[in-house]
Amino acid sequence: MAHFTKATSLHDWLNQRLAVDTLRRVLATEYWIPKNINFLWAMGMVLAITFGLLLISGIFLLMYYQPNVNLAFDSVNYTIMQEVGYGWLWRHVHGVAASVVFLIIYIHMFTGIYYGSYKQGREMIWLSGMLLFVAFSAEAFSGYMLPWGQMSYWAGMVITNLFSGGSLHADGLVEWIRGDYVPGQAFLNRFFMLHVLLIPLAILGLIGLHFGALRIPHVNNQDGEEIDFEAEAAKYKAGDKANSKVIAFVNDFMSKDMMVVGIYLIFFFYLVFYHYDFAMDPVNFDPADGLKTPAHIYPEWYFLWSYEILRPFSTNVGLIAFAFAQVIFFLLPFLDKSPNAVPASRRGLFKYWFWAMLIDMIILTAMGKVPPSGIFSTIGLYAALTFIGLWIILPFITKLEKKA
């Protein structure tokens, strides 16, 4: 057994038992972040804060929500919105955060793609991040079922039908997932469980993995420069902070982070108080009705790009294209054959690839929102083909790239 002495303070008492000083040093004051970064490097903390907001607002919603097909709609739209003191606040925070979190995730992802932060030892950061994206998508979808409005019901119907695999007719699998022939009580209950327990647990674990994956390769910087973190940290600790290329995670980097978080939260609460309606589909204010399909079914904006890849094709081809779109971002570190981990602007053809991909995904998102007819169908089809084409040419154009 370790040797314990009479504690001189509460801090010392804790330190002897939990090594709080060592913990603080390893996790915060001697965790090194490059200086050469910009506000886009704060998106991770913005995401962590947004996840915190979702968790806290979710806890309060959970106290009044009823996962029952007859009660769910009223428990949200009447009990929480009208009876519970400040219930509207939790609902609007939860709804707005669920939408905005995807905006930040996309910014975070495209920052990583632009600066090449997914290669040269940073592959696990990218892969764990993509797993988080999948988990957040499942979390968003399962949460969308809970108010049991028309859009909840029909999105649930359409998305679970995807699992029939087109011509494979795996209807048994679809019924197994739903626990019924159509979305019903069993379906609502199990998606409630997934939303409030299983997926959040997975997300917490994945966040741990994502942070852990950063420790050894460290955070990337604006020039993709390979920094000798030990040498730079030694300079910092010796007092030569001006010439060191790194700063401490706490307090240096955190204070920059919190500046961005502060600006973000002003924008966030502006949406919560004045523009929450963008995250609340009007169709979902009608209670679920299994005998009446809404005229136009579309997912929330953050799923539109992949929905648009599904839509212009016949069932089987559409499903294959959709499956392709869902997994292809995982393969980015392996399809990018260039050894250069520098910003896209210094990488030849990849520069154009990056902007083409970004614009194509914006077009897909816009086309996913409008009804699938006429010119929009055509634009959607070409944008979907462009998406697939861009991924096919990626290994070739990056192979051509010269060592920078």
Binding site: V158, R178, D180, V182, L291, N316, G318
Partner: protein, 178 residues
Amino acid sequence: MKNSSRRGFMGKAFGAVAGVGAVASLYAMKRSWDPLPSVKAAGFTTLDMSAYQDNELVTEKWRGKPIFVLKQSPDMVKKAQGNPKDMNRLIKIDNDYFMVCVGLCTHLGCIPGYRPDTQDFLCACHGGMYDFTAEVTKAPPPRGLDIPPFKIDGKKLVLGETGPEYEKMLADGTTLKV
């Protein structure tokens, strides 16, 4: 040597027990997600076929799904007789012909709308179209609307039971099993 083989045995025995336990628990978990017997048994729907009007779509309900019933007018029957695929889909009760099908688009399960003037179905979700016997006429739906299991009982139709007319439809590929 004796020691290591004993360890090897214990390792294998532990692995075997854990493996059996894992498979058994996975099976229990899978079964817990299955539809409940009460859901599966949820009834049969009996339709009185003498109550329907020509070219007027009525939506019934069977196992939580909408069921389209469309009594064919004489001109629709004449049109259908020109196309064996259409004719196979109709159910004959006495001298009347009926189209009875699950009202969920075979693409992704939306409910198509019936247009009595043009005598066809249009699915608003992705633009799929079906004719008056619910045979598909425009992609993306891969096939016509599915026909639920039925049994003819005099002037009545029992959904959920399987009669010889339904078995014939299954056999010749007119519909898939719902």
